[in-house]
Symmetry: C2
Subunit: 314 residues, 2 copies
Amino acid sequence: MNQICKLFNIKYPIIQAGMVWCSGWKLASAVSNAGGLGVIGAGSMYPDVLRKHIQKCKNATTEPFAVNVPLLYPNVEEIMEIIVAEDVKIVFTSAGNPATWTGFLKERGITVVHVIANTKFALKAEGCGADAVVAEGFEAGGHNGREETTTLCLIPMIRAAIKIPVIAAGGIASGRAMLAALALGADAVQIGSAFAVAKESSAHLNFKERIVNASEGDTKLRMKKLVPVRLLKNEFADAVAQAEAEGANTVQLVELLGRARAKLGMFEGDMEQGELEIGQVSAMLDEIKPAAQILTEIWEEFLGEKERLVKMEI
Amino acid sequence: MNQICKLFNIKYPIIQAGMVWCSGWKLASAVSNAGGLGVIGAGSMYPDVLRKHIQKCKNATTEPFAVNVPLLYPNVEEIMEIIVAEDVKIVFTSAGNPATWTGFLKERGITVVHVIANTKFALKAEGCGADAVVAEGFEAGGHNGREETTTLCLIPMIRAAIKIPVIAAGGIASGRAMLAALALGADAVQIGSAFAVAKESSAHLNFKERIVNASEGDTKLRMKKLVPVRLLKNEFADAVAQAEAEGANTVQLVELLGRARAKLGMFEGDMEQGELEIGQVSAMLDEIKPAAQILTEIWEEFLGEKERLVKMEI
Protein backbone atom coordinates (compact mmCIF):
# COMPACT_ATOMS: atom_id res chain seq x y z
CA MET A 1 0.00 0.00 0.00
CA ASN A 2 1.11 3.58 -0.64
CA GLN A 3 3.07 4.89 2.38
CA ILE A 4 1.23 8.21 2.50
CA CYS A 5 -2.23 6.65 2.12
CA LYS A 6 -1.31 4.38 5.02
CA LEU A 7 0.12 7.19 7.15
CA PHE A 8 -2.95 9.42 6.79
CA ASN A 9 -5.53 6.65 6.21
CA ILE A 10 -6.72 8.21 2.94
CA LYS A 11 -7.74 6.73 -0.41
CA TYR A 12 -5.62 8.76 -2.88
CA PRO A 13 -2.05 10.02 -2.32
CA ILE A 14 -3.20 13.58 -3.02
CA ILE A 15 -2.80 16.29 -0.40
CA GLN A 16 -4.46 19.68 -0.74
CA ALA A 17 -1.93 22.35 0.28
CA GLY A 18 -2.73 24.55 3.26
CA MET A 19 -2.94 28.01 1.69
CA VAL A 20 -3.54 31.44 3.19
CA TRP A 21 -6.98 32.87 2.31
CA CYS A 22 -7.96 29.79 0.24
CA SER A 23 -8.14 26.70 2.40
CA GLY A 24 -10.68 26.94 5.17
CA TRP A 25 -13.00 24.15 6.35
CA LYS A 26 -15.05 24.15 3.14
CA LEU A 27 -12.14 23.29 0.88
CA ALA A 28 -10.46 20.95 3.37
CA SER A 29 -13.62 18.94 4.05
CA ALA A 30 -14.47 18.76 0.34
CA VAL A 31 -11.02 17.31 -0.46
CA SER A 32 -11.15 14.89 2.48
CA ASN A 33 -14.64 13.74 1.53
CA ALA A 34 -13.36 13.11 -2.00
CA GLY A 35 -10.63 10.76 -0.71
CA GLY A 36 -7.62 13.07 -0.55
CA LEU A 37 -6.24 14.87 2.49
CA GLY A 38 -7.81 18.28 3.08
CA VAL A 39 -5.67 20.79 4.93
CA ILE A 40 -6.86 23.91 6.77
CA GLY A 41 -4.34 26.75 6.33
CA ALA A 42 -3.88 28.42 9.71
CA GLY A 43 -1.52 31.04 8.29
CA SER A 44 -4.29 33.55 7.59
CA MET A 45 -6.45 32.80 10.66
CA TYR A 46 -6.59 34.30 14.14
CA PRO A 47 -6.63 31.51 16.74
CA ASP A 48 -10.38 31.83 17.33
CA VAL A 49 -11.08 31.70 13.61
CA LEU A 50 -8.95 28.57 13.29
CA ARG A 51 -10.86 26.90 16.13
CA LYS A 52 -14.16 27.51 14.32
CA HIS A 53 -12.75 26.16 11.05
CA ILE A 54 -11.54 22.99 12.77
CA GLN A 55 -14.94 22.49 14.42
CA LYS A 56 -16.81 23.06 11.16
CA CYS A 57 -14.44 20.73 9.32
CA LYS A 58 -15.14 17.97 11.87
CA ASN A 59 -18.86 18.47 11.29
CA ALA A 60 -18.45 18.40 7.52
CA THR A 61 -16.35 15.23 7.21
CA THR A 62 -15.62 12.02 9.07
CA GLU A 63 -12.48 11.55 6.98
CA PRO A 64 -8.98 12.56 8.12
CA PHE A 65 -7.94 16.19 7.60
CA ALA A 66 -4.96 18.29 8.71
CA VAL A 67 -3.98 21.80 9.76
CA ASN A 68 -0.97 23.63 8.28
CA VAL A 69 0.86 25.94 10.67
CA PRO A 70 3.53 28.35 9.36
CA LEU A 71 5.93 28.44 12.31
CA LEU A 72 7.15 31.99 11.74
CA TYR A 73 3.71 33.52 12.25
CA PRO A 74 2.61 35.02 15.57
CA ASN A 75 0.33 33.10 17.96
CA VAL A 76 1.93 29.73 17.19
CA GLU A 77 1.67 28.59 20.84
CA GLU A 78 -2.02 29.43 21.02
CA ILE A 79 -2.60 27.72 17.68
CA MET A 80 -0.85 24.54 18.82
CA GLU A 81 -2.96 24.45 21.99
CA ILE A 82 -6.15 24.75 19.94
CA ILE A 83 -4.94 21.95 17.64
CA VAL A 84 -4.39 19.68 20.64
CA ALA A 85 -7.65 20.71 22.35
CA GLU A 86 -9.66 20.15 19.18
CA ASP A 87 -8.04 16.73 18.70
CA VAL A 88 -6.58 17.42 15.24
CA LYS A 89 -4.80 14.23 14.15
CA ILE A 90 -2.40 15.55 11.48
CA VAL A 91 -0.33 18.77 11.46
CA PHE A 92 1.81 20.19 8.65
CA THR A 93 4.43 22.66 9.85
CA SER A 94 6.17 25.03 7.46
CA ALA A 95 8.31 28.16 7.28
CA GLY A 96 10.41 27.43 10.31
CA ASN A 97 12.52 24.99 12.28
CA PRO A 98 10.97 21.49 12.51
CA ALA A 99 12.75 20.94 15.83
CA THR A 100 10.61 23.52 17.62
CA TRP A 101 7.22 21.78 17.60
CA THR A 102 7.61 18.24 16.24
CA GLY A 103 8.37 16.72 19.68
CA PHE A 104 5.42 18.50 21.32
CA LEU A 105 3.00 17.27 18.66
CA LYS A 106 4.39 13.72 18.45
CA GLU A 107 4.13 13.31 22.24
CA ARG A 108 0.43 14.06 21.89
CA GLY A 109 -0.04 11.36 19.24
CA ILE A 110 -0.28 13.78 16.33
CA THR A 111 1.14 12.88 12.90
CA VAL A 112 3.63 15.58 11.86
CA VAL A 113 4.70 16.57 8.35
CA HIS A 114 7.22 19.34 7.76
CA VAL A 115 7.52 21.38 4.55
CA ILE A 116 11.09 21.73 3.27
CA ALA A 117 12.87 23.03 0.17
CA ASN A 118 16.37 21.59 0.65
CA THR A 119 18.20 18.49 1.87
CA LYS A 120 19.45 20.14 5.06
CA PHE A 121 15.93 20.70 6.40
CA ALA A 122 14.71 17.31 5.13
CA LEU A 123 17.40 15.65 7.26
CA LYS A 124 16.53 17.93 10.19
CA ALA A 125 12.80 17.07 9.90
CA GLU A 126 13.57 13.35 9.78
CA GLY A 127 16.03 13.68 12.65
CA CYS A 128 13.51 15.28 14.99
CA GLY A 129 10.83 12.66 14.33
CA ALA A 130 8.61 14.06 11.57
CA ASP A 131 6.53 11.34 9.89
CA ALA A 132 6.97 12.71 6.36
CA VAL A 133 8.13 15.81 4.50
CA VAL A 134 6.60 17.95 1.80
CA ALA A 135 9.44 18.81 -0.61
CA GLU A 136 8.45 22.00 -2.39
CA GLY A 137 10.09 23.27 -5.57
CA PHE A 138 10.75 26.74 -7.03
CA GLU A 139 7.61 26.69 -9.21
CA ALA A 140 5.30 26.61 -6.17
CA GLY A 141 3.14 29.60 -5.28
CA GLY A 142 3.61 31.69 -2.15
CA HIS A 143 6.69 31.48 0.04
CA ASN A 144 9.57 29.59 -1.38
CA GLY A 145 13.11 28.30 -0.71
CA ARG A 146 16.20 30.44 -1.22
CA GLU A 147 18.01 27.73 -3.22
CA GLU A 148 15.39 28.04 -6.02
CA THR A 149 15.66 24.29 -6.63
CA THR A 150 12.87 23.10 -8.92
CA THR A 151 10.66 20.13 -8.08
CA LEU A 152 12.33 18.03 -10.81
CA CYS A 153 15.76 18.56 -9.21
CA LEU A 154 14.60 18.57 -5.60
CA ILE A 155 12.61 15.33 -5.31
CA PRO A 156 15.38 12.87 -6.32
CA MET A 157 17.80 14.60 -3.92
CA ILE A 158 15.36 14.45 -1.01
CA ARG A 159 14.39 10.86 -1.85
CA ALA A 160 18.06 9.88 -1.74
CA ALA A 161 18.70 11.74 1.53
CA ILE A 162 15.92 10.49 3.85
CA LYS A 163 13.92 7.34 4.58
CA ILE A 164 10.56 8.83 5.64
CA PRO A 165 7.89 9.38 2.94
CA VAL A 166 8.25 12.35 0.58
CA ILE A 167 5.30 14.40 -0.67
CA ALA A 168 6.20 16.39 -3.82
CA ALA A 169 4.90 19.95 -4.17
CA GLY A 170 5.30 22.74 -6.72
CA GLY A 171 4.18 22.52 -10.33
CA ILE A 172 1.67 19.71 -9.82
CA ALA A 173 -1.88 20.30 -11.07
CA SER A 174 -2.41 17.35 -13.40
CA GLY A 175 -2.24 13.56 -13.44
CA ARG A 176 0.73 13.82 -15.78
CA ALA A 177 2.69 15.95 -13.28
CA MET A 178 1.60 13.60 -10.48
CA LEU A 179 3.02 10.65 -12.43
CA ALA A 180 6.27 12.59 -12.95
CA ALA A 181 6.49 13.27 -9.21
CA LEU A 182 6.08 9.57 -8.41
CA ALA A 183 8.62 8.71 -11.13
CA LEU A 184 11.08 11.02 -9.33
CA GLY A 185 10.61 9.03 -6.13
CA ALA A 186 7.84 10.89 -4.28
CA ASP A 187 5.19 8.87 -2.43
CA ALA A 188 2.44 11.43 -2.91
CA VAL A 189 1.74 14.93 -4.16
CA GLN A 190 0.64 18.17 -2.54
CA ILE A 191 -1.46 20.37 -4.80
CA GLY A 192 -2.00 24.06 -4.11
CA SER A 193 -2.89 26.27 -7.09
CA ALA A 194 -5.37 23.81 -8.62
CA PHE A 195 -7.33 23.76 -5.35
CA ALA A 196 -7.03 27.53 -4.87
CA VAL A 197 -9.47 27.86 -7.79
CA ALA A 198 -11.82 25.17 -6.47
CA LYS A 199 -15.42 26.21 -5.97
CA GLU A 200 -14.98 25.57 -2.22
CA SER A 201 -11.82 27.69 -1.92
CA SER A 202 -12.43 30.80 0.18
CA ALA A 203 -10.37 32.93 -2.22
CA HIS A 204 -12.19 35.90 -3.79
CA LEU A 205 -13.83 35.15 -7.14
CA ASN A 206 -11.72 37.92 -8.75
CA PHE A 207 -8.57 36.03 -7.71
CA LYS A 208 -9.89 32.72 -9.03
CA GLU A 209 -10.79 34.33 -12.35
CA ARG A 210 -7.39 36.01 -12.57
CA ILE A 211 -5.71 32.62 -12.00
CA VAL A 212 -7.67 30.80 -14.71
CA ASN A 213 -6.71 33.62 -17.11
CA ALA A 214 -3.00 33.61 -16.18
CA SER A 215 -0.36 32.90 -18.84
CA GLU A 216 3.22 31.62 -18.91
CA GLY A 217 5.62 33.96 -17.18
CA ASP A 218 2.82 35.73 -15.25
CA THR A 219 4.22 34.61 -11.89
CA LYS A 220 7.67 35.51 -10.63
CA LEU A 221 9.61 34.96 -7.43
CA ARG A 222 9.80 38.38 -5.71
CA MET A 223 10.98 39.84 -2.40
CA LYS A 224 14.13 37.69 -2.44
CA LYS A 225 15.81 40.09 -0.01
CA LEU A 226 13.02 39.38 2.52
CA VAL A 227 11.37 35.95 2.20
CA PRO A 228 11.06 34.86 -1.46
CA VAL A 229 7.42 34.68 -2.55
CA ARG A 230 5.91 33.74 -5.93
CA LEU A 231 3.42 36.38 -7.04
CA LEU A 232 1.10 36.92 -9.97
CA LYS A 233 1.85 39.97 -12.07
CA ASN A 234 -0.25 43.05 -11.20
CA GLU A 235 0.37 46.70 -10.29
CA PHE A 236 1.76 45.77 -6.88
CA ALA A 237 4.04 43.01 -8.24
CA ASP A 238 5.24 45.35 -11.00
CA ALA A 239 6.06 47.98 -8.38
CA VAL A 240 8.05 45.38 -6.45
CA ALA A 241 9.86 44.30 -9.64
CA GLN A 242 10.70 47.92 -10.41
CA ALA A 243 11.94 48.60 -6.87
CA GLU A 244 14.05 45.43 -6.94
CA ALA A 245 15.53 46.31 -10.34
CA GLU A 246 16.54 49.65 -8.87
CA GLY A 247 18.24 48.00 -5.89
CA ALA A 248 15.62 48.58 -3.15
CA ASN A 249 16.87 47.47 0.27
CA THR A 250 14.96 45.41 2.85
CA VAL A 251 13.57 48.48 4.62
CA GLN A 252 12.19 49.84 1.36
CA LEU A 253 10.71 46.47 0.44
CA VAL A 254 9.03 46.06 3.83
CA GLU A 255 7.54 49.54 3.40
CA LEU A 256 6.34 48.74 -0.13
CA LEU A 257 4.78 45.49 1.09
CA GLY A 258 2.88 47.24 3.87
CA ARG A 259 0.34 45.16 5.77
CA ALA A 260 -2.37 42.70 4.81
CA ARG A 261 -1.60 42.75 1.06
CA ALA A 262 -2.34 39.03 0.68
CA LYS A 263 -5.75 39.46 2.32
CA LEU A 264 -6.43 42.52 0.14
CA GLY A 265 -5.77 40.56 -3.03
CA MET A 266 -6.66 36.95 -2.40
CA PHE A 267 -9.60 37.41 0.00
CA GLU A 268 -10.93 40.91 -0.71
CA GLY A 269 -10.41 40.76 -4.47
CA ASP A 270 -8.22 43.81 -5.21
CA MET A 271 -6.44 42.46 -8.29
CA GLU A 272 -4.02 45.39 -8.66
CA GLN A 273 -2.90 46.39 -5.15
CA GLY A 274 -3.19 42.95 -3.52
CA GLU A 275 -0.47 40.30 -3.13
CA LEU A 276 -1.53 37.36 -5.31
CA GLU A 277 0.29 34.17 -4.29
CA ILE A 278 0.00 31.37 -6.85
CA GLY A 279 2.21 28.82 -8.62
CA GLN A 280 3.54 28.62 -12.19
CA VAL A 281 0.87 26.00 -13.00
CA SER A 282 -1.66 28.84 -12.94
CA ALA A 283 -0.81 29.10 -16.67
CA MET A 284 -2.44 25.68 -17.18
CA LEU A 285 -5.55 26.16 -15.03
CA ASP A 286 -8.61 27.24 -16.95
CA GLU A 287 -11.74 26.49 -14.97
CA ILE A 288 -13.30 27.00 -11.55
CA LYS A 289 -14.81 23.68 -10.52
CA PRO A 290 -15.65 21.60 -7.41
CA ALA A 291 -12.71 20.19 -5.42
CA ALA A 292 -13.98 16.62 -5.82
CA GLN A 293 -13.99 17.03 -9.60
CA ILE A 294 -10.46 18.46 -9.56
CA LEU A 295 -9.24 15.52 -7.50
CA THR A 296 -11.03 12.92 -9.62
CA GLU A 297 -9.76 14.39 -12.90
CA ILE A 298 -6.17 14.42 -11.65
CA TRP A 299 -6.47 10.86 -10.39
CA GLU A 300 -8.00 9.57 -13.62
CA GLU A 301 -5.42 11.35 -15.75
CA PHE A 302 -2.73 9.85 -13.52
CA LEU A 303 -4.05 6.32 -14.08
CA GLY A 304 -4.38 6.90 -17.83
CA GLU A 305 -0.89 8.36 -18.17
CA LYS A 306 0.56 5.54 -16.08
CA GLU A 307 -1.01 3.09 -18.52
CA ARG A 308 0.42 5.06 -21.47
CA LEU A 309 3.90 4.97 -19.90
CA VAL A 310 3.66 1.22 -19.24
CA LYS A 311 2.79 0.54 -22.88
CA MET A 312 5.25 3.03 -24.35
CA GLU A 313 7.66 1.52 -26.88
CA ILE A 314 11.17 2.84 -26.52
CA MET B 1 8.96 3.12 -32.20
CA ASN B 2 9.99 6.25 -30.32
CA GLN B 3 9.46 9.34 -32.52
CA ILE B 4 12.84 10.87 -31.73
CA CYS B 5 14.78 7.61 -32.23
CA LYS B 6 13.05 7.35 -35.61
CA LEU B 7 13.68 11.00 -36.54
CA PHE B 8 17.40 10.85 -35.78
CA ASN B 9 17.91 7.12 -36.41
CA ILE B 10 19.42 6.55 -32.96
CA LYS B 11 19.08 3.76 -30.40
CA TYR B 12 18.20 5.67 -27.20
CA PRO B 13 16.05 8.83 -26.94
CA ILE B 14 18.91 10.65 -25.23
CA ILE B 15 20.38 13.80 -26.76
CA GLN B 16 23.61 15.34 -25.50
CA ALA B 17 23.13 19.12 -25.34
CA GLY B 18 25.32 21.33 -27.50
CA MET B 19 27.26 23.33 -24.91
CA VAL B 20 29.85 26.08 -25.25
CA TRP B 21 33.39 24.92 -24.35
CA CYS B 22 32.25 21.39 -23.49
CA SER B 23 30.87 19.64 -26.54
CA GLY B 24 33.40 19.29 -29.35
CA TRP B 25 33.87 16.26 -31.60
CA LYS B 26 35.22 14.06 -28.80
CA LEU B 27 32.10 14.30 -26.66
CA ALA B 28 29.67 14.28 -29.59
CA SER B 29 31.20 11.19 -31.21
CA ALA B 30 31.41 9.37 -27.87
CA VAL B 31 27.70 9.94 -27.23
CA SER B 32 26.74 8.99 -30.79
CA ASN B 33 28.86 5.84 -30.64
CA ALA B 34 27.09 4.91 -27.40
CA GLY B 35 23.66 5.08 -29.08
CA GLY B 36 22.50 8.60 -28.17
CA LEU B 37 22.70 11.72 -30.31
CA GLY B 38 25.96 13.63 -29.90
CA VAL B 39 25.81 17.36 -30.60
CA ILE B 40 28.73 19.66 -31.43
CA GLY B 41 28.20 23.08 -29.84
CA ALA B 42 29.11 25.72 -32.43
CA GLY B 43 28.50 28.58 -29.98
CA SER B 44 32.11 28.69 -28.78
CA MET B 45 33.78 27.91 -32.14
CA TYR B 46 35.09 30.12 -34.92
CA PRO B 47 33.82 28.82 -38.28
CA ASP B 48 37.15 27.15 -39.14
CA VAL B 49 37.26 25.43 -35.76
CA LEU B 50 33.72 24.16 -36.25
CA ARG B 51 34.67 22.75 -39.67
CA LYS B 52 37.50 20.76 -38.11
CA HIS B 53 35.26 19.46 -35.33
CA ILE B 54 32.67 18.29 -37.86
CA GLN B 55 35.34 16.53 -39.93
CA LYS B 56 36.87 14.86 -36.88
CA CYS B 57 33.44 13.80 -35.66
CA LYS B 58 32.70 12.16 -39.02
CA ASN B 59 35.98 10.26 -38.71
CA ALA B 60 35.21 9.21 -35.13
CA THR B 61 31.70 7.87 -35.67
CA THR B 62 29.50 6.45 -38.40
CA GLU B 63 26.43 7.17 -36.25
CA PRO B 64 24.25 10.29 -36.62
CA PHE B 65 25.37 13.45 -34.84
CA ALA B 66 24.22 17.08 -34.90
CA VAL B 67 25.49 20.64 -34.64
CA ASN B 68 23.90 23.24 -32.33
CA VAL B 69 23.93 26.82 -33.63
CA PRO B 70 22.96 29.72 -31.34
CA LEU B 71 21.34 32.09 -33.83
CA LEU B 72 22.28 35.28 -32.02
CA TYR B 73 26.01 34.67 -32.32
CA PRO B 74 28.11 36.29 -35.07
CA ASN B 75 29.15 34.35 -38.20
CA VAL B 76 25.87 32.42 -38.41
CA GLU B 77 25.82 32.60 -42.23
CA GLU B 78 29.33 31.23 -42.52
CA ILE B 79 28.50 28.51 -39.98
CA MET B 80 25.41 27.45 -41.91
CA GLU B 81 27.41 27.22 -45.15
CA ILE B 82 29.98 24.99 -43.46
CA ILE B 83 27.18 22.79 -42.09
CA VAL B 84 25.78 22.36 -45.60
CA ALA B 85 29.21 21.87 -47.21
CA GLU B 86 30.20 19.27 -44.60
CA ASP B 87 26.90 17.44 -45.11
CA VAL B 88 25.73 17.66 -41.47
CA LYS B 89 22.37 15.86 -41.30
CA ILE B 90 20.86 17.35 -38.12
CA VAL B 91 20.97 20.94 -36.83
CA PHE B 92 19.72 22.31 -33.51
CA THR B 93 19.09 26.05 -33.57
CA SER B 94 18.73 28.04 -30.36
CA ALA B 95 18.72 31.57 -28.93
CA GLY B 96 16.89 33.20 -31.82
CA ASN B 97 14.00 33.17 -34.23
CA PRO B 98 13.33 29.71 -35.75
CA ALA B 99 11.90 31.38 -38.87
CA THR B 100 15.31 32.73 -39.94
CA TRP B 101 17.10 29.48 -40.83
CA THR B 102 14.65 26.57 -40.68
CA GLY B 103 13.54 26.95 -44.31
CA PHE B 104 17.12 27.22 -45.58
CA LEU B 105 18.14 24.05 -43.74
CA LYS B 106 14.99 22.05 -44.56
CA GLU B 107 15.36 22.83 -48.28
CA ARG B 108 18.79 21.21 -48.10
CA GLY B 109 17.39 18.04 -46.54
CA ILE B 110 18.63 18.78 -43.03
CA THR B 111 16.60 17.77 -39.96
CA VAL B 112 15.97 20.88 -37.84
CA VAL B 113 15.28 21.08 -34.12
CA HIS B 114 14.71 24.42 -32.39
CA VAL B 115 15.28 25.09 -28.69
CA ILE B 116 12.40 26.94 -26.99
CA ALA B 117 11.34 27.91 -23.47
CA ASN B 118 7.71 28.93 -24.04
CA THR B 119 4.59 28.00 -26.02
CA LYS B 120 4.84 31.00 -28.33
CA PHE B 121 8.17 29.89 -29.77
CA ALA B 122 7.15 26.22 -29.82
CA LEU B 123 4.24 27.16 -32.08
CA LYS B 124 6.54 29.35 -34.17
CA ALA B 125 9.07 26.53 -34.59
CA GLU B 126 6.35 24.08 -35.59
CA GLY B 127 4.82 26.66 -37.93
CA CYS B 128 8.02 27.22 -39.87
CA GLY B 129 8.68 23.51 -40.36
CA ALA B 130 10.99 22.42 -37.55
CA ASP B 131 11.01 18.64 -37.08
CA ALA B 132 11.05 18.79 -33.27
CA VAL B 133 11.63 21.17 -30.40
CA VAL B 134 13.81 21.06 -27.32
CA ALA B 135 11.71 22.51 -24.46
CA GLU B 136 14.13 23.80 -21.86
CA GLY B 137 13.17 24.66 -18.29
CA PHE B 138 14.43 27.17 -15.72
CA GLU B 139 16.74 24.66 -14.01
CA ALA B 140 18.91 24.31 -17.14
CA GLY B 141 22.45 25.65 -17.22
CA GLY B 142 23.56 28.53 -19.41
CA HIS B 143 21.14 30.82 -21.23
CA ASN B 144 17.57 30.54 -20.21
CA GLY B 145 14.01 31.77 -20.89
CA ARG B 146 12.62 34.97 -19.38
CA GLU B 147 9.41 33.26 -18.21
CA GLU B 148 11.45 31.11 -15.75
CA THR B 149 9.06 28.21 -16.38
CA THR B 150 10.43 24.99 -14.91
CA THR B 151 10.67 21.76 -16.89
CA LEU B 152 7.84 20.22 -14.84
CA CYS B 153 5.50 23.06 -15.81
CA LEU B 154 6.83 23.59 -19.34
CA ILE B 155 6.66 20.11 -20.88
CA PRO B 156 2.91 19.45 -20.44
CA MET B 157 2.13 22.92 -21.89
CA ILE B 158 4.37 22.39 -24.92
CA ARG B 159 3.05 18.84 -25.41
CA ALA B 160 -0.49 20.20 -25.45
CA ALA B 161 0.37 23.05 -27.86
CA ILE B 162 2.19 21.29 -30.72
CA LYS B 163 2.15 18.01 -32.63
CA ILE B 164 5.86 17.60 -33.50
CA PRO B 165 8.07 15.65 -31.06
CA VAL B 166 9.20 17.32 -27.83
CA ILE B 167 12.64 16.82 -26.28
CA ALA B 168 12.68 17.81 -22.59
CA ALA B 169 15.71 19.68 -21.23
CA GLY B 170 16.67 21.19 -17.89
CA GLY B 171 17.09 19.21 -14.68
CA ILE B 172 17.64 15.84 -16.34
CA ALA B 173 20.74 13.89 -15.34
CA SER B 174 19.29 10.57 -14.19
CA GLY B 175 17.02 7.78 -15.36
CA ARG B 176 14.49 8.89 -12.77
CA ALA B 177 14.33 12.41 -14.22
CA MET B 178 14.19 10.94 -17.74
CA LEU B 179 11.19 8.85 -16.70
CA ALA B 180 9.55 11.97 -15.25
CA ALA B 181 10.13 13.84 -18.52
CA LEU B 182 8.48 11.06 -20.52
CA ALA B 183 5.63 10.94 -17.98
CA LEU B 184 5.09 14.66 -18.67
CA GLY B 185 4.69 13.93 -22.37
CA ALA B 186 8.20 14.40 -23.79
CA ASP B 187 9.45 11.98 -26.46
CA ALA B 188 13.10 12.22 -25.45
CA VAL B 189 15.49 14.09 -23.19
CA GLN B 190 18.38 16.46 -23.79
CA ILE B 191 21.10 16.21 -21.16
CA GLY B 192 23.69 18.93 -20.66
CA SER B 193 25.34 19.14 -17.24
CA ALA B 194 25.85 15.38 -16.86
CA PHE B 195 27.77 15.31 -20.17
CA ALA B 196 29.70 18.51 -19.35
CA VAL B 197 31.56 16.44 -16.75
CA ALA B 198 32.13 13.50 -19.10
CA LYS B 199 35.73 12.43 -19.61
CA GLU B 200 35.40 13.43 -23.30
CA SER B 201 34.02 16.92 -22.55
CA SER B 202 36.47 19.63 -23.58
CA ALA B 203 35.73 21.61 -20.41
CA HIS B 204 38.72 22.32 -18.16
CA LEU B 205 39.31 19.74 -15.43
CA ASN B 206 38.97 22.50 -12.80
CA PHE B 207 35.43 23.17 -14.06
CA LYS B 208 34.50 19.48 -14.04
CA GLU B 209 35.81 19.12 -10.49
CA ARG B 210 33.94 22.24 -9.38
CA ILE B 211 30.72 20.77 -10.84
CA VAL B 212 31.02 17.41 -9.10
CA ASN B 213 31.56 19.31 -5.83
CA ALA B 214 28.61 21.70 -6.32
CA SER B 215 25.77 21.78 -3.78
CA GLU B 216 22.09 22.78 -3.75
CA GLY B 217 21.62 26.48 -4.37
CA ASP B 218 25.11 26.88 -5.88
CA THR B 219 23.69 27.92 -9.27
CA LYS B 220 21.49 30.96 -9.78
CA LEU B 221 19.92 32.67 -12.76
CA ARG B 222 21.86 35.93 -13.24
CA MET B 223 22.06 38.80 -15.76
CA LYS B 224 18.27 38.90 -16.09
CA LYS B 225 18.48 42.47 -17.41
CA LEU B 226 20.63 41.19 -20.30
CA VAL B 227 20.03 37.55 -21.30
CA PRO B 228 19.31 35.35 -18.26
CA VAL B 229 22.08 32.80 -17.66
CA ARG B 230 22.43 30.14 -14.97
CA LEU B 231 25.84 30.40 -13.32
CA LEU B 232 27.75 28.54 -10.64
CA LYS B 233 28.62 30.61 -7.59
CA ASN B 234 32.14 32.04 -7.61
CA GLU B 235 33.79 35.47 -7.21
CA PHE B 236 32.48 36.65 -10.57
CA ALA B 237 28.92 35.39 -9.95
CA ASP B 238 28.96 36.94 -6.47
CA ALA B 239 30.03 40.27 -8.00
CA VAL B 240 27.13 40.04 -10.44
CA ALA B 241 24.72 39.17 -7.61
CA GLN B 242 25.98 42.15 -5.61
CA ALA B 243 25.70 44.52 -8.59
CA GLU B 244 22.17 43.28 -9.34
CA ALA B 245 21.10 43.65 -5.72
CA GLU B 246 22.30 47.26 -5.87
CA GLY B 247 20.31 47.93 -9.05
CA ALA B 248 23.05 47.79 -11.70
CA ASN B 249 21.76 48.76 -15.15
CA THR B 250 22.44 46.96 -18.44
CA VAL B 251 25.48 49.11 -19.25
CA GLN B 252 27.05 48.31 -15.88
CA LEU B 253 26.27 44.60 -16.28
CA VAL B 254 27.78 44.47 -19.77
CA GLU B 255 30.89 46.14 -18.39
CA LEU B 256 31.07 43.71 -15.46
CA LEU B 257 30.66 40.76 -17.82
CA GLY B 258 33.47 41.93 -20.07
CA ARG B 259 34.60 39.54 -22.79
CA ALA B 260 35.35 35.83 -22.97
CA ARG B 261 34.38 35.07 -19.37
CA ALA B 262 32.85 31.69 -20.30
CA LYS B 263 36.06 30.65 -22.06
CA LEU B 264 38.11 31.88 -19.09
CA GLY B 265 36.14 29.72 -16.66
CA MET B 266 34.92 26.69 -18.55
CA PHE B 267 37.84 26.17 -20.94
CA GLU B 268 40.82 27.85 -19.27
CA GLY B 269 39.91 26.81 -15.75
CA ASP B 270 39.74 30.11 -13.84
CA MET B 271 37.23 29.08 -11.18
CA GLU B 272 36.83 32.54 -9.64
CA GLN B 273 36.82 35.07 -12.49
CA GLY B 274 35.30 32.83 -15.17
CA GLU B 275 31.63 32.47 -16.11
CA LEU B 276 30.63 28.92 -15.13
CA GLU B 277 27.47 27.85 -16.95
CA ILE B 278 25.86 24.72 -15.50
CA GLY B 279 22.42 23.45 -14.44
CA GLN B 280 20.85 22.88 -11.02
CA VAL B 281 21.49 19.13 -11.38
CA SER B 282 25.18 19.87 -10.77
CA ALA B 283 24.23 19.34 -7.11
CA MET B 284 23.58 15.64 -7.91
CA LEU B 285 26.64 14.97 -10.09
CA ASP B 286 29.57 13.43 -8.26
CA GLU B 287 31.92 11.76 -10.70
CA ILE B 288 33.84 12.39 -13.91
CA LYS B 289 33.32 9.35 -16.13
CA PRO B 290 33.17 8.33 -19.80
CA ALA B 291 30.17 9.56 -21.82
CA ALA B 292 29.18 5.99 -22.74
CA GLN B 293 29.01 5.07 -19.07
CA ILE B 294 26.92 8.16 -18.26
CA LEU B 295 24.49 7.27 -21.03
CA THR B 296 24.27 3.59 -20.07
CA GLU B 297 23.72 4.36 -16.39
CA ILE B 298 20.92 6.82 -17.18
CA TRP B 299 19.30 4.33 -19.55
CA GLU B 300 19.49 1.46 -17.10
CA GLU B 301 18.14 3.57 -14.24
CA PHE B 302 15.33 4.67 -16.56
CA LEU B 303 14.38 1.06 -17.31
CA GLY B 304 14.57 0.09 -13.65
CA GLU B 305 12.50 3.05 -12.49
CA LYS B 306 9.93 2.40 -15.23
CA GLU B 307 9.62 -1.15 -13.91
CA ARG B 308 9.21 0.19 -10.35
CA LEU B 309 6.47 2.57 -11.50
CA VAL B 310 4.64 -0.20 -13.36
CA LYS B 311 4.60 -2.40 -10.26
CA MET B 312 3.82 0.41 -7.81
CA GLU B 313 0.75 -0.23 -5.67
CA ILE B 314 -1.38 2.86 -5.21
